[in-house]
């Protein structure tokens, strides 16, 4: 790795930290500006009890002080504080718990999308305008245009309720199959289309024609030359795909009752569980920022023509 690349990475890392800090700050103040609070409930508690709770969690202090304490605790102790709703549990523990499932869901979905997408895309390109190509294109168009909550509901109805092949809740490993498929379908379809067009583009290049003319076998052309080069756009899609999977999991986890971080995030907002809102936001934001960075760096690795600055 030369110093130029290293400098670029450091610069991007700095930017990433700045981005996360902006997210923290905006979320913190917007969250406190929204009416309602963590101790608001239909059956109101006494004013004395509420005051004691607020004092206990430091919510009686001025907002700027709370903000300062919060940042300090994160930076110096990596302490995200206690959950105000699930009393006795810390935000870190809840996030770790949810992350276990969500990460499994996301990583498998990403790989599934990548592998199936690249294979289908290549097949479609090599069989251009044949029946297989047309079928693949019709199906992927459908998947790209269907929102995940509809896709999820359809899969649930067909495979869980009618055929009873899978459980309808994500509490067991088997229950994760349908949510993974739901989550993977959109990026898979997108990658298929991306691979197909980029593969067609590469197959039309002069160096492929030269290789063909020199009598290089079809297999070697595809795997040795065409595939690697046609994957560049797919890699650029890696970042947005991860963002999609992270945000998509909010919906999918709800539909399939998967105990992931997406559900924790949504419920923390309705509960005004301030430390939980902050914790999940920071984790999700960091994830997206880091993955975009990784995808940019990989971009460079697969295509030496690209310079990073």
């Amino acid at each position: 790795m030369n110093s130029k690349t290293l400098g670029y990475i450091l610069k991007r890392l700095g930017l990433a930290i700045l981005t996360v800090w902006v997210v923290i700050t905006v979320t913190f103040f917007v969250m406190h500006a929204v009416p309602g609070g963590p101790f608001t409930s239909e059956k109101a508690i006494s004013a004395a009890a509420e005051a004691q709770l607020k004092a206990k969690y430091g919510l009686d202090k001025p907002l700027m002080t709370q903000y300062g304490t919060y940042l300090k605790d994160i930076v110096t102790k990596f302490d995200f504080g206690p959950s105000l709703k699930q009393r006795g549990r810390t935000v870190i523990v809840i996030i770790k718990d949810g992350m276990k499932t969500s990460a499994k869901l996301g990583i498998i979905a990403a790989f599934l999308a990548l592998i199936v997408g690249v294979v289908l895309g290549s097949v479609a390109a090599l069989r251009r305008n044949k029946a297989v190509d047309k079928i693949i294109m019709v199906i992927t168009t459908a998947f790209v245009s269907m929102p995940s909550f509809i896709m999820g509901a359809l899969l649930l109805l067909l495979f869980a309720v009618k055929l009873r092949l899978f459980p309808a809740n994500g509490s067991t490993p088997a229950g994760l199959v349908l949510p993974i498929i739901t989550l993977a379908l959109y990026p898979m379809a997108y990658i298929t289309r991306l691979t197909r067009s980029s593969m067609l583009d590469v197959l039309g290049q002069d160096y492929i024609r030269t290789a063909k003319a020199k009598g290089v076998s079809q297999k070697k052309i595809i795997f040795g030359h065409a595939l690697k080069n046609s994957l560049i756009p797919v890699i650029t899609y890696f970042g947005p795909m991860l963002a999609y999977i992270v945000t998509g999991s909010l919906v999918v986890e709800q539909v399939f009752a998967v105990p992931g971080i997406g559900r924790a995030f949504v419920s923390s907002i309705t509960n005004r569980d301030y430390p939980m809102i902050m914790g999940t936001t920071i984790i999700l934001a960091s994830l997206i920022v880091i993955m975009n960075l990784v995808s940019d760096i990989m971009y460079k690795v697969v295509d030496p023509r690209i310079t990073l600055e």
């Binding site: 929204v34 009416p35 309602g36 609070g37 101790f39 608001t40 409930s41 239909e42 059956k43 109101a44 508690i45 006494s46 004013a47 004395a48 009890a49 509420e50 004691q52 709770l53 206990k56 709703k85 699930q86 009393r87 006795g88 549990r89 809840i94 718990d97 949810g98 499932t101 297989v132 509901a153 649930l156 109805l157 869980a160 309720v161 009873r164 092949l165 899978f166 459980p167 309808a168 809740n169 994500g170 509490s171 067991t172 490993p173 088997a174 229950g175 199959v177 709800q254 539909v255 399939f256 009752a257 105990p259 992931g260 559900r263 924790a264 419920s267 309705t270 509960n271 005004r272």
Partner: protein, 585 residues
């Protein structure tokens, strides 16, 4: 192409085999149910939710518990206590109860359970330091909140002193807030969040807790009445998505689900006639007005008390425009009952009759007005007659009624009701806009009185009408109407005469605080149950006379339970009991 198809087939088979592995083997000694999502807490002192209470009823044993006899009647019976004796009334009106605990009580970790654990738990739950939602459940005990008069006089004797006699005391003993906890266990603030630190004394213990996924309860051998428990394992699945619950019920995974999608109710009623259950629930869905909201026409010369008297009459009249039968039959569709009083159906008088049937003027109907379909026309005419006194009537509608805004929390059901109310008022020319807010924001707005008219609802915490009445005192945190606050604070227009009941209280033209607040504290201090109920009727009369509370219907509890489940029951507060169930296919 053929090859691809066969590959797909193999893949599908492999996946479906995987699916088989995850399933629990249903051998009849375990039951899968789903009430709601992960409970906020299952610390008995901190819980205030119905789903949490159901879990706690399986995990803990208080002095008393709910039980169902062979005829299906519910009763409160002793659990940890040997018996539930009558209290002894002292000269000062305070009532002393002495309980003897059963022999051999143990915690789930094998340690002995003593009366001291009850004393500790009650003081902890009631005190301000914990700030529990349901701390006020101990309000009836002498010394509430911070010096609770309860004492363990020996290892198996508990003495508690109530400020006065309380009709529903035994029921409170079965309430989760009254369950025992052990001091060294709860010293760890996170004790009630993991299976391994959770120590309890009831029919079950927690053997597995996958957060946001499932809580597994296994029969507790140390439970004092363990031989009565028939169900070996209960899996509480954690989801709050009604559509997902229904999918799991339909495919046979979950045998009871506590929620169903509103738009499916009609179909489910038809397709699952024996499994779709509509149970009674003590609660009222109502509309509340902000008492300080000006609704008189611009230029009205009414001031002060006279203006408020007029507004009360107007609000009550508008309440007559609504067709409650339409709301329950066309919108609710879940067996709700049109309401003619605020204190809900299910609350009973000392003689066992329904409280709402003896409320109001009872001129040929129950409650405060006639909600039958036959009375629609006369109610409408009556309302128009009253409104004509204050607003201009052009022969078909009122032309100078100020525009109102109806506030509700975002939900399809509440919206549909809002739209109906809007259309009912439009028939007489009153314009009402609809505004919805997200739940937590909504609660805040309503509590602060930043609204003119809003959706509201109240579910009973225990079986006594006072829990519908004491929420309307001036300083109550649930006083959404804003009685006795701001402009209403200084209006001297309410009367209270308790002399016929043997009290010296007689107020003519007093403020809300001088009348209603005094009445509620008199009720709370009253030891004569008949007088107490008479005063509670007076309190409801006062509330209804303001026109600020417009009951629409009494709630019902909807759930689905598989036909194979036998021995299941639920109580009027909506707690569900699985410990005595068996599965018969």
């Amino acid at each position: 192409m053929k090859k691809m198809l066969s590959m797909l087939l193999v893949l599908a088979m492999a996946i479906s085999m995987l699916a088989g592995c995850g399933k629990d083997e249903a051998d009849g000694t375990s039951i899968n149910v789903c009430l709601s999502s992960e409970p906020d807490t299952i610390d008995p002192a901190l819980n205030s939710a119905v789903d949490g209470a159901t879990m706690l009823a399986h995990l803990f044993a208080g002095l008393a518990k709910w039980s169902q006899d062979s005829k299906g009647n519910l009763a409160i019976v002793p659990d940890c206590a040997e018996a539930l004796p009558e209290g002894v009334v002292g000269a000062d009106g305070k009532v002393t109860y002495t309980y003897t605990l059963k022999k051999g009580l143990k915690w789930s970790d094998g340690k002995d359970l003593t009366a001291k654990d009850f004393e500790f738990a009650w003081k902890r739950a009631a005190g301000d330091e914990l700030g529990a939602d349901y701390g006020y459940m101990f309000e009836v005990v002498d010394g509430y909140p911070n010096n609770l008069n309860v004492k363990a006089t020996s290892d198996n004797t508990l003495v508690v002193v109530l400020a006065n006699s309380v009709a529903y005391w035994n029921e409170l003993l079965a309430f989760p807030t009254y369950y025992p906890v052990r001091e060294d266990v709860v010293a760890d603030e996170a004790w009630a969040t993991e299976a391994k630190t959770y120590v309890c004394n009831g029919a079950y213990t927690i053997t597995k807790w996958d957060h946001n996924s499932v809580i597994e309860l296994t029969k507790n051998k140390n439970y004092v009445n363990a031989d009565e428990v028939t169900m070996g394992k209960i899996n509480f699945y954690l989801s709050d998505d009604a559509n997902n619950m229904l999918s799991n019920f339909k495919n046979g995974e979950w045998l009871l689900i506590d929620d169903v999608p509103t738009n499916e109710i009609a179909t489910l009623k038809k397709d699952y006639p024996t499994e779709f259950v509509v149970a009674g629930q003590i609660g009222t869905y109502y509309v509340c007005w902000n008492i300080n909201e000006e609704i008189l026409p611009a230029g009205s010369n009414l001031k002060g008390e006279a203006a408020e008297a007029a507004r009360a009459e107007i609000r009550a009249a508008i309440g007559l425009l609504y067709d409650r039968n339409y709301i329950v039959e066309e919108i609710g569709q879940a067996g709700q009952v049109p309401a003619s009083s605020f204190v809900a159906m299910g609350m009973t008088n000392p003689d066992g009759t329904q409280f709402y049937k003896t409320a109001g003027n009872n001129a040929g109907f129950d409650g405060y007005y006639d909600v039958s379909t036959g009375a629609l026309k006369s109610n409408f005419d009556k309302a128009v007659e009253v409104l004509k006194k204050y607003y201009n009537w052009d022969g078909s509608k009122f032309t100078n009624f100020p525009t109102l805004t109806y506030l509700y929390n975002t939900s399809e059901g509440h919206k549909a009701i809002g739209e109906y109310l809007q259309s009912a008022m439009a028939t007489v020319g009153i314009t009402m806009n609809l505004e919805n807010q997200e739940w937590n924001t909504f609660l805040n707005t309503r509590k602060d009185g930043q609204y003119s008219i809003a959706r509201n609802g109240w579910l009973a915490d225990y079986n006594d009408p006072i829990c519908f009445l004491d929420m309307w005192t001036t300083e109550s945190g649930n006083n959404d109407v804003q009685f006795g606050k701001d402009g209403h604070k200084n209006l001297k227009m309410y009367n209270l005469d308790l002399t016929s009941l043997g009290y010296s209280t007689k107020v003519v033209n007093g403020t809300w605080a001088e009348t209603f607040d005094v009445l509620i504290s008199t009720i709370k201090g009253c030891t004569d149950n008949n007088k107490r109920f008479e005063m509670m009727h007076i309190a409801e009369d006062m509330l209804m006379s303001t026109g600020c509370i417009v009951p629409l219907y009494y709630y019902t509890d909807l759930y689905m339970v598989d036909d194979s489940v036998k021995g299941f029951f639920s109580n009027p507060l909506g707690y569900k009991y699985f410990m005595y169930t068996t599965i018969e296919k």
